[in-house]
Symmetry: C2
Subunit: 403 residues, 2 copies
């Protein structure tokens, strides 16, 4: 009988994958049993989902078989869906089995938050996971194919309406301005008939970003045919489109995508964790308050920036740094050593605006625009692949090929 402590990691996103990697490195096989639970047998690049949704990337470049990265001989891989975490019994209920744990890492990612906007849940698509993005891509293309076969078709069926002008919404629009002209050519449709409209409630898109960067992004997207509607609050979403602003203007569209908000996985609430806006505010060592053996990482966690007294933004960058701290802290717990506090090291943020354009900041605020930013974004994407799977994965799925 094994008496090794059992560590269970829930979710194979950025945080879950990197935590598992870190644990494999920090611990010998004799020190602990590691189990990784994930709904699918693949890990996908959440930060590339806007490209899958637009259909501007080969979808398989954006996903990786988990067993290609994490050896099933070293880590037990369970492909199943989490139903509930019974935290006071150290037990997890999966759809097809149950599991107990000594240490638990919850890295189950985000779900879309519609902020209760009427009809959004029913009528909009979400950039939420690999499958939901495949559906957006196919739905869009289906609208173009249908338009050409229906003599009475309304041009608005070609319109793609993107709710939310945050990071994901704008990166998605950046892909659409490249994809839509291609769809128009494929289906012999005048480019002028297919509109791309972004709707943001705040006075500007990309709230929180530097003004010059925002202006650059806005201009770049507008010049390539996107319509940017700022200060436009969505009142209601119907099958037809959005109703916006005080005069309830209807913007009609054949494809409606909501990118305006995310929250932590709903398993957290179902399992009785105390939530703040759908996430758990963790201790500075990333553990759930009141639980010595439960870590919560990535988009499920609020990690406070104590200097500015607000949580760090939920990014892949942060999730990967959480993983590193968590991996060290689990080792410390096993060795009965003191735990370390999470310290966020901001490496900057770069947004893509299609394949050849982008903008952002790196290091301590150096601004990047255009091709340089687009190239840097690809370097960021590739760096992650390298960290995750070494040179082999980088060569297989990377965006910048060295040869």
């Amino acid at each position: 009988m094994s008496t090794k402590p059992r560590i269970v990691v829930l979710g194979a996103g950025y945080a879950g994958m990197m935590t598992t990697k870190k644990l494999m490195k920090n611990l010998s096989p004799e020190e602990a049993e590691i189990i990784l639970v994930n709904k699918h047998n693949y890990h996908y690049q959440t930060t590339w989902l806007h490209e899958v949704a637009a259909g501007t990337i080969n979808q398989n470049q954006a996903r990786i078989m988990i067993s290609d990265i994490i050896s099933p001989n070293r880590v037990r891989l369970i492909y199943d869906t989490v139903v509930e975490i019974v935290k006071d019994e150290n037990r997890i209920v999966l759809e097809n089995s149950e599991l107990t744990y000594d240490y638990l890492v919850i890295s189950l990612g985000y779900e879309t938050n519609t902020f209760g906007i009427e009809g959004m849940q029913e009528h909009a698509f979400f950039i939420e996971n690999f499958e939901s993005c495949q559906l957006i891509r196919e739905h869009m293309e289906y609208q173009f194919a249908k338009y050409k076969n229906d003599p009475d078709a309304d041009e608005s069926s070609l319109t793609i309406l993107v709710g939310g002008g945050g990071f994901t919404g704008i990166e998605f629009v950046g892909e659409l301005v490249e994809k839509v002209p291609k769809l128009c050519r494929k289906y012999d449709i005048d480019r002028g008939k297919a509109k791309i409209i972004n709707v943001e409630a705040s006075p500007t898109i990309l709230p929180g970003f530097d003004k010059n960067l925002v202006a650059y992004a806005r201009k770049s997207l507008q010049e390539r045919g996107a319509e940017i509607r700022e200060g436009a609050r969505i009142k209601k979403c119907t099958e037809e489109g959005f109703f916006v602003g005080d005069d309830n203007e209807l913007i009609k569209a054949g494809t409606i995508v909501w990118t305006g908000g995310v929250t932590g996985n709903s398993i957290l609430g179902k399992s009785g964790f105390e939530l703040t806006k759908g996430k758990v505010t963790v201790n500075s060592d990333l553990r759930a308050p009141g639980y010595e053996n439960i870590f919560i990482l990535g988009d499920c966690a609020w990690v406070m920036n104590k200097v500015e007294n607000r949580p760090y933004p939920p990014t892949a960058q942060a999730a990967m740094q959480h993983a590193s701290t968590c991996g060290n802290n689990i080792k410390a717990l096993l060795n009965q050593e003191p735990l370390e506090d999470f310290v966020f090291s901001d490496k900057g943020t770069v947004a893509s605006l299609g394949v050849t354009d982008g903008m952002g900041t790196i290091f301590s605020g150096t601004k990047l625009f255009g091709k340089t930013a687009a190239a840097m974004k690809k370097v960021v994407d590739d760096r992650y692949l390298f960290l995750l799977g070494g040179p082999k994965l980088f060569l297989k799925k990377g965006k910048v090929r060295p040869f």
Copy 2:
């Protein structure tokens, strides 16, 4: 003022394209003005439409810009839709203009015939033209994408139901048995969940074909996962699927395609031609009875096989031979020489069953099976490209590349 006789060719399918080419060769620019009218600026390979519909070919391989083949300096190209032929005034009404002619060639192709089966027109897709086949491809893929996003989805939404086991239906099923496994991999769906069902009312599929060839095709498709329902009459088509047989069994499907019948273009009837099963029975010189200056070719014409006292089957091969006779006869009319009778030279028929399988007969009844037949089918396809556009087109769009 030009006093040259004007020849108008309606439709740029196999018959219209080859007639125009033949006229360009037979006549000097001084002898006649040639006008080609077509709905789109491209010609498409009708015999490749099943591949466009299944998504097993790059769609642009299956279409050719008309102006790449026929010089607009030599032939006036009008991209418009025919509304009516006012044949007693030698006049054609188009959607956006009108035209008069001295000689007219009607090669407007086929439309789908549902034989009045209830609901078929409303609920089934047709392998009818380039755009309708793009829609089939996108609809199918959309079903797979939707299935993965709907926890309550019915497996039958993945079923592709093909009504009609004739040449087109069977060639389409041949593509589906290769496409569906790819869709299943793309969307992580068990291959067993996605059914391909072909329904044919006759006692066997491919009525009129040699028994051994039919048996070969049936076995090939069944072994690759298609279900072949022979002797199954479709009573009704609804949104859900087909009701078949005397016990009104419902076969449910997410994609319903009807390939069971074609008829001539409905413009023939609207223009007052006397019809037999939707087509015009032409004289042996391919002219419309009672009209000295109107030729009717391809799928719009019944051309009688006088030996067997029944019409020749409507094939691309026949259409191209019609074109040759028609081109010669127009030259004869201009020169006041006697016209020639159409004589069909049967070069055989080969059906594809996917990329690497097929069956058929060539020359005088030599049977071909498997890879040989598949290769021969590609040679047939390439031969047409060569006839149409010479080595350049063959190299650009051909299926068998010499290097």
